[in-house]
Assembly symmetry: C2
Amino acid sequence: MSTLAIATAKEVFDLLRDDLSAIEREFSNDAVSSVAAITDISDYLREGGGKRIRPSLLLLSAKAQGYSGHGMIRLGSVVEMIHTATLVHDDIIDAADTRRGRPSANTTWGNAKCVLAGDWLYMQAFRVALDERNFKVLDLLIGLTQQMVEGELLQMEKLGHSIIEEEYNDLIYRKTACLFEVSMRLGSELAGATEEVEEQMGEYGHSLGMAFQIVDDVLDLTATEEVLGKPVASDLREGKATLAVIHSLENGTDADRKAIEMVLTDQNFSRVTHAEIVSILTRNGSVDHAMGVAMRYAETARGALSVLPESEFKRALLWVPDFVLAREK
Amino acid sequence: MSTLAIATAKEVFDLLRDDLSAIEREFSNDAVSSVAAITDISDYLREGGGKRIRPSLLLLSAKAQGYSGHGMIRLGSVVEMIHTATLVHDDIIDAADTRRGRPSANTTWGNAKCVLAGDWLYMQAFRVALDERNFKVLDLLIGLTQQMVEGELLQMEKLGHSIIEEEYNDLIYRKTACLFEVSMRLGSELAGATEEVEEQMGEYGHSLGMAFQIVDDVLDLTATEEVLGKPVASDLREGKATLAVIHSLENGTDADRKAIEMVLTDQNFSRVTHAEIVSILTRNGSVDHAMGVAMRYAETARGALSVLPESEFKRALLWVPDFVLAREK
């Protein structure tokens, strides 16, 4: 690696290639049950891909703190299993038809089997984590899954309603930032970091996760169906107000507010078109506002890394927030 | 307590009264979430009652081995929370309308919230168990929940089909005996028992659980709707062959087999009546066979207690198998 800043996703991927392959093998071995349906469902989900951001963060955190043992492979698989378990149950809850451009597991295997497969994946994640024989690791993981499950319930209760920015922040923390934070903290835990360093790693994961989800929510409003691999403005169609929308609710005209609330209530664009919503958001500078908030989170994330010694892994972590801000899907 | 054998449920209840009350309080405190829906659902389920057999076994096991700390209250709440979580998810899977004579949680709150509430209860059970700071306790609990979840999936795959006794044994082990076994083992774990004693306590719980479920399944076939609080032969209506039915499948005439398979396929009594099934089972001595198997399990359970020193708790444990065999609902 050069001593210059890392500039491409490929450089980061090269840095983690072997460990990410090891995590894929670990996940593939971990998620085998004596009950065929469970193995089938988890294979299907694992093969569906995903960006493996959470295990990558865990690896970078552990390695930037000097750790190189098998624990990071094991816990890398664990955070991806937990992420997968939440997706299975979320798809049931949202009655989703597709996930990552393929039929969602519940459309293929039915809700009942997917409830149980999700349960099993949670348990298996804890079982594998238990092999670390580290109570703090278990505290982090179990606290995390409860936050996520509670977040999903809070989200359900808010569907179709306008919410304030504070509620939005809590929802995306639970949905995304919490697992990013725990992935970073687990790296510290493995490396035997001080409480102070672990706090900073947690801060990095938290801020990065907030930035990631805000950008995700902006793209849902502004990108094309082709790029997203799903209908545009899916959040609004599900009755979810995200940051840019909340900004226009709070800063737009009465007519703007009425138009947005109509879409949230209808959960479709029959009375107000998608183009009208985009025009409202643009006129109020709401997309720029959301991207500005994401940028500030990205800056906070980078700042938290000052406790780390220089290394190619630290440089990769410094690069990730830019990647998150610049991504187009 | 007298030094004679314990003779009534009231005597056992008196022995455990204070600790069971403490477990109720612990459960009630443990199952409080910052998300109202979770607390509501878990309160509803907790107040629905149930016999608290699993915490009672855990208490008797711990106390018969000389333990008297708070761990038995905490883990008593944990096993009841796990039991409750499985009931919530099972009701979704079975699309059940009622549970313990009241509307099931899913009919009141909907499947989506109940998936999440069940998830949360599992996590909370692990979180509370984690406070014991005992890896073996966590190994037992997580292994257990996986067995139960896998069992529910295996059961789904067998609905509507005739099964053999070996498959039935595996299903009821996972459904019931496994948690009875773990409750007894947790008592040993708390008391710091030797491996040998823990094995015997596990054997007791396992055998008692098998007897309990066999009797439960017999009562489903032979008791009245009034006593059961649900329609008679619910298992057959769900396409489940239980021990007495399997005995008639294997030992009855071709006509018997055909009649039973018709009910399993139809999942109702439109072509073959419930009375006809009962008459087939009676003619083949199938109910007696099932009760005989349950009695042998009860005997094995009692035998496993020989490793325990004499105490009123041991006497209570000796009494439980008879109670299980004699119960009418």
